[in-house]
């Protein structure tokens, strides 16, 4: 899999392909690494493109199994999960890639960190 493969989305969301290539990753550790490296304008751009589409994306995913096998479905889930992780950094943390006034997130170890969606 290359990041271009993550951009293969269901037709209705094909316009989000560049965002998917930029943000979608199968594991929490990979999504976190992208998040730590992102800056306020990155979060803002992701938010501005996704916020108006989130309802539709979730409505689509509600028709998909929890563990999608088909590539476009799985990529749609990956994009939603990438946004799930990134959105608070625009909406709550003023574009900061870290949670402000927090413990070093790199020292938090998720058991599931390398499990792929």
């Amino acid at each position: 899999m290359t990041t271009a493969d993550y951009a293969i989305l269901p037709e209705a969301f094909a316009d989000l392909a560049p965002l998917a290539a930029r943000w979608s990753r199968p594991t929490e550790n990979e999504r976190n690494a992208l998040r730590f490296a992102a800056r306020a304008p990155d979060f803002a751009a992701f938010h501005d493109a996704m916020a108006p589409r989130l309802d539709a994306l979730l409505a689509y995913l509600a028709q998909c199994p929890a563990e999608p096998v088909e590539t476009p479905q799985r990529n749609a889930l990956m994009l939603a999960c990438a946004y799930a992780e990134a959105a608070p950094h625009h909406e709550l943390y003023a574009g900061n890639s870290e949670v402000p006034f927090s413990f070093d997130a790199r020292r938090f170890v998720p058991d599931h960190g390398d499990e792929a969606l």
């Binding site: 938010h47 996704m50 916020a51 989130l54 309802d55 979730l58 409505a59 689509y60 995913l61 509600a62 028709q63 998909c64 199994p65 929890a66 563990e67 999608p68 479905q73 749609a76 889930l77 939603a80 999960c81 946004y83 799930a84 992780e85 959105a87 608070p88 909406e91 709550l92 943390y93 949670v99 402000p100 006034f101 927090s102 413990f103 997130a105 020292r107 938090f108 170890v109 998720p110 058991d111 599931h112």
Partner: protein, 414 residues
């Protein structure tokens, strides 16, 4: 005739604030048990090697042969928790009776695996043990001259379950059964379908602080409007009340009128709130938790002595979150392994899964705000600048835990 169990049966554990003040006092509480490194050896002997400790859940080990190895430096040992062919979960020292090697090698503080054919084999010389403990076979057995295999099974540790939470007790003859040790806590929290919430997100970190600093930081709601101003903005009407004292344990309720939920959070939350599987289910709460069934209930926060918190929310607090647990494992006087686990019911579609990821991320972020204080607090206490903590009503779980700790350290009969 025995009285029927009713919602009123736990009234004796409830306390008003004046009663709490009367019973636990209002004065400053010494930080000595946190500061003095010599206390740690006493804690090991009189608490961690004597009382029941939660080490696993039954649903982590669903099938015969499933095991978990857990490193417990606080008891100077590694333990093997394994489901036998008979379906029972047992705990053993992960120590080979030949010469002491680990029977199941492990990486990190927790390792999972599955024993094949109901046995585990020590890699050093190949001694084979049943998952129920007995020594089954020894390579070149004749060459030992004499070997009483019947006495050389894995060294078993007392192990019992409450609501699918697996507890062990290192005392070879525990003073109390698990049920007696939990006492009214078992009733207060009993009956909730914990085992249905098998989707778990576990985070851990090693903190440079005494374990009680971490425990205490997660034991009160006083900090929410300040520490969590970032992740829980505009938290309104927070109320920490409905205090209960339960022997060495205690509990209380967090109510909250709401917060300034971010727009995306509202959208993700809608997926979970709209589902009868994940939405708020106050009806599933045990009868004595939020007995008035107040709509602003967030979660019940207990302290199960010595090192376990089970926050029971039933979807009423963080969207879709069934409950979450914290544990604080001392590694030495000034080092603690913290474990936080979020439990959800399994997602039935991909939208629910994404929404759970969002809620999990938000809650993890709040935990990052909580843990930010711990090493600084410990450094402050170790500086010697303060001898006491000043505790307000909502910090009564801390006051109670500190008093309980003192009584165990003093060797009081429990």
């Amino acid at each position: 005739m025995p009285m029927p169990q009713t919602a009123a049966s736990l009234d004796h554990i409830r306390r008003t604030i004046p009663q709490i003040r009367e019973e636990l006092g209002t004065g400053p509480v010494s930080v000595n048990a946190i500061r003095d490194p010599a206390i740690y050896a006493l804690e090991q002997e009189r608490i961690f090697k004597k009382v029941w400790l939660k080490v696993a859940t039954a649903w982590e080990l669903p099938d015969a042969g499933d095991y978990k190895v857990k490193e417990l430096p606080v008891a100077d040992t590694s333990i093997l928790i394994v489901r036998g062919k008979d379906g029972r979960i047992r705990a053993f020292h992960n120590v080979c009776t030949h010469r002491g090697n680990k029977v199941v090698p492990n990486k990190g503080f927790e390792t999972y695996g599955r024993a094949r054919a109901g046995v585990v084999t020590c890699r050093f010389h190949g001694w084979v043990f049943g998952t129920d403990g007995p020594l089954k076979s020894v390579p070149m057995e004749d060459a030992f001259g004499q070997l009483d295999k019947g006495c050389l099974g894995l060294r078993e540790i007392a192990c019992d379950e409450w609501e699918g939470f697996v507890f062990i007790n290192f005392d070879p003859a525990p003073a109390q059964t698990l049920a007696a040790y939990l006492g009214d806590f078992g009733t207060l929290f009993g009956g909730y379908p914990y085992r249905e919430s098998t989707t778990a997100f576990r985070y851990s970190t090693v903190l440079k602080c005494n374990w009680k600093v971490a425990l205490y930081a997660f034991s009160e709601g006083y900090h929410v409007p300040t520490i969590h101003a970032g992740s829980l903005p505009g938290f309104r009407g927070i109320e920490h009340s409905d205090f209960k004292l339960i022997g060495p344990h205690a509990s209380s309720t967090i109510f909250g009128a709401g917060m300034d939920t971010a727009p995306s959070t509202q959208t993700f939350a809608g997926v979970l709130h709209g589902s009868d599987n994940h939405g708020p289910r106050p009806d599933l709460l045990p009868a004595d938790i939020n007995p008035a069934r107040r709509g602003d209930f967030q979660f019940e926060i207990p302290n199960i002595f010595p090192n376990l918190l089970i926050h029971l929310a039933s979807g009423c607090g963080y969207p879709g979150l069934s409950y979450f647990t914290h544990q604080f494992w001392p590694l030495d006087h000034g080092t603690t392994l913290w474990e936080g686990i979020n439990y959800f019911r399994p997602a039935r579609n991909a939208a629910e899964r994404a929404a759970q990821m969002h809620v999990n991320a938000l809650h993890r972020n709040a935990w990052l705000e909580d843990t930010a204080t711990m090493e600084d607090t410990f450094t402050g206490i170790m500086s010697g600048a303060i001898d006491d903590m000043q505790l307000m009503d909502q910090e009564f779980l801390i006051r109670h835990a500190a008093l309980t700790l003192d009584s165990y350290l003093a060797g009081a009969k429990q």
